[in-house]
């Protein structure tokens, strides 16, 4: 499998602040790749460095073997970025913006007009094609950004928090469209705060924190290596005090009962024994594996997993 993107010891400094501390990893061609991390982890900085919106302080980034600094014309043709910030242009309609953007890439003609029509149709923008972007809602602006990123048919699509502030319907539309692009062979790189989305969509994820990669693996492997599974216990008697060994395993305590974490090698009978010793009358027990959010929080220390 050839490589779509290679990050090689990428650094970015703002004065004494190191936004990226020597990031190195690769994204394979055709992958659906998730770039996760808390706010300020450096995800957008890395994506912007790849897209040419900022100049890295050191290292190299290659897209399909081309260097983003030396061979920027090739890499920008290969990349389509949906930026995180919403963008408006008070002078042009959506269709005009798409035509102008095509022009920047030197693409014109009947075929391109058809592609623009298709994008407008697929992203439910056809009836707003002649509207100025300033007049659009946030969700519409987000769709325009996706159309702009796809107008030159890039092989790698980078989506920086594409569903932030977007309603449920549109979120589903966007993911369906993105999955379709992935099936057609596009490499997708995604940053998102919605970890359940990343878990459902991404085959591989990198988790970043404070400018470093904390974890890089397939989503299934990351979930598999998490040391705990989770036990949801519905109880009859909520006022019973928990034993010390249960307290150390307690993750959540709400009206429905308790959520405990349990080492994978421990059996359910051990868990039931602990509940029994605390005098808890168990109404129902359900177990599940860790979610990506729990893996994420364990790795970034955002909360006790």
């Amino acid at each position: 499998m050839s490589l779509a993107v290679q990050f090689q010891h990428v650094t970015k400094q703002y004065g004494s602040f190191e936004a990226l501390k020597g990031i190195s990893f690769e994204v394979e061609e055709g992958a659906f790749f998730g770039l996760l991390g808390p706010n300020g982890a450096g995800k957008s900085t890395l994506i912007n460095a790849m897209s040419g919106l900022l100049v890295p302080s050191g290292g190299a980034i290659k897209v399909h073997g081309y260097d983003v600094i030396q061979d920027y014309r090739q890499t920008r043709r290969l990349l389509g970025l949906v930026p995180q910030e919403l963008i408006a242009d008070p002078f042009f309609t959506i269709r005009q913006l798409l035509e102008l953007q095509s022009g920047y890439f030197g693409i014109k003609g009947k075929e391109q007009k058809q592609w623009i029509d298709e994008l407008l149709e697929r992203l439910a923008l056809a009836d707003k094609a002649d509207a100025i972007t300033n007049q659009l809602s946030g969700g519409m602006k987000r769709r325009v950004l996706i159309a702009m990123a796809l107008v030159h048919k890039p092989r790698v699509l980078v989506l920086d928090e594409p569903t932030a502030g977007v309603d449920v319907d549109l979120r589903h539309t966007l993911w369906e469209f993105t999955k379709e692009l992935h099936q057609k062979g596009h490499t997708i790189i995604l940053t998102t705060h919605y970890l359940e989305e990343a878990e459902a969509l991404c085959e591989k994820v990198a988790i970043m924190q404070r400018g470093e990669v904390k974890a890089l693996d397939t989503t299934s492997q990351l979930l598999a290596t998490h040391p705990f599974r989770y036990v949801r216990v519905a109880v009859e008697n909520r006022n019973t005090a928990l034993s010390m060994e249960l307290k150390t395993r307690l993750v959540e305590d709400d009206n429905a009962g308790y959520l405990f974490r349990l080492e994978k090698e421990q059996s359910m009978s051990d868990m039931l024994g602990m509940l029994h010793h605390s005098g808890i009358a168990v109404k129902d027990v359900r177990t599940r594996d860790a979610t990506l959010e729990e893996v994420f929080m364990a790795l970034t220390g955002a909360a006790q997993a």
Partner: protein, 256 residues
């Protein structure tokens, strides 16, 4: 592959022209009207009282200067306002993500500022020829100075747009640098009418050479030689272009 992206450069140029054309009342007609007001007030009222060059009425002297002042100010306004607006709205990102080189970016913006400067200049001249006795002795000099000066001011506007983080910065650049230099560039007077020290000071103002060279094209009289004016204009155009290209290549305040 790293050859000139002519199609991309052209598309950006077209976008910039369409941008100012879509608000042409503000970008073309308003400066034409305000310049004609200058002409009305200064030209008609003072016309009979001053003779700047021998055999030349004051209004004949004034019109080329006013035209050049309008060209300079509008060429500057085009690049500077477009860049700062694009930065504020974020839509500069679209051009930055495209395979357009810093030189192509520069060329497209400067060419559009020249078009706007010339559109305003031609607008004033078209109305001017109906009311005043204008001669166009050397049209090539007129065109050459109009284009080079507009390009230089477009470049200065780009520099201001790149360096400004907000509209306030741009306003400071415009009000404290561009306006004084254009008003003190001999638009309204011949520098020979000034005291010696102010004549010397005027020679330090690059805009003076642009106005003087442009005026030469109309009635073949000028304060300094046409060759010197051309040299100074070319020098500043080259200097401003070089500074802009260095900043664009480094991505200063654009590619953060």
């Amino acid at each position: 592959m790293n050859n000139f992206n002519a199609a991309g450069c052209w598309a950006l140029f077209v976008k910039e022209v369409k941008r100012f054309y879509s608000v042409s009342v503000q970008t073309i007609f308003a400066p034409v009207v305000s310049t004609l007001l200058y002409l009305l007030v200064f030209g008609q009222v003072i016309d009979t009282q001053i003779e700047v060059f021998s055999g030349l009425e004051y209004s004949q002297f004034l019109i080329p200067g006013l035209v050049m002042m309008a060209i300079l100010q509008n060429a500057f306004a085009n690049t500077s306002s477009s860049l700062i607006q694009s930065k504020m709205h974020g839509n500069l990102t679209f051009a930055l993500l495209s395979p357009i080189s810093p030189f192509e970016f520069y060329l497209a913006f400067i060419a559009a500022s020249v078009v706007r400067g010339l559109a305003v200049g031609v607008g004033i001249l078209v109305i001017g020829v109906f009311g005043f006795d204008l001669s166009f002795n050397s049209p090539l000099w007129i065109l050459l100075f109009a284009v080079l000066s507009a390009a230089m001011m477009g470049g200065l506007g780009m520099l201001a747009g790149i360096l400004s983080d907000k509209y306030d910065h741009l306003a400071a650049f415009q009000n404290f640098i561009i306006m004084p230099l254009t008003f003190l560039s001999g638009v309204f007077y011949s520098i020979h009418a000034l005291p010696a020290i102010w004549q010397q000071a005027s020679h330090l103002n690059p805009f003076f050479y642009m106005v003087d060279g442009f005026r030469y094209g109309f009635f073949e009289q000028s304060d300094v030689s046409i060759g010197l004016s051309l040299l100074v204009t070319l020098f500043f155009l080259t200097l401003i272009s070089a500074i802009n290209l260095i900043l664009l290549n480094k991505g200063v305040k654009i590619r953060k």
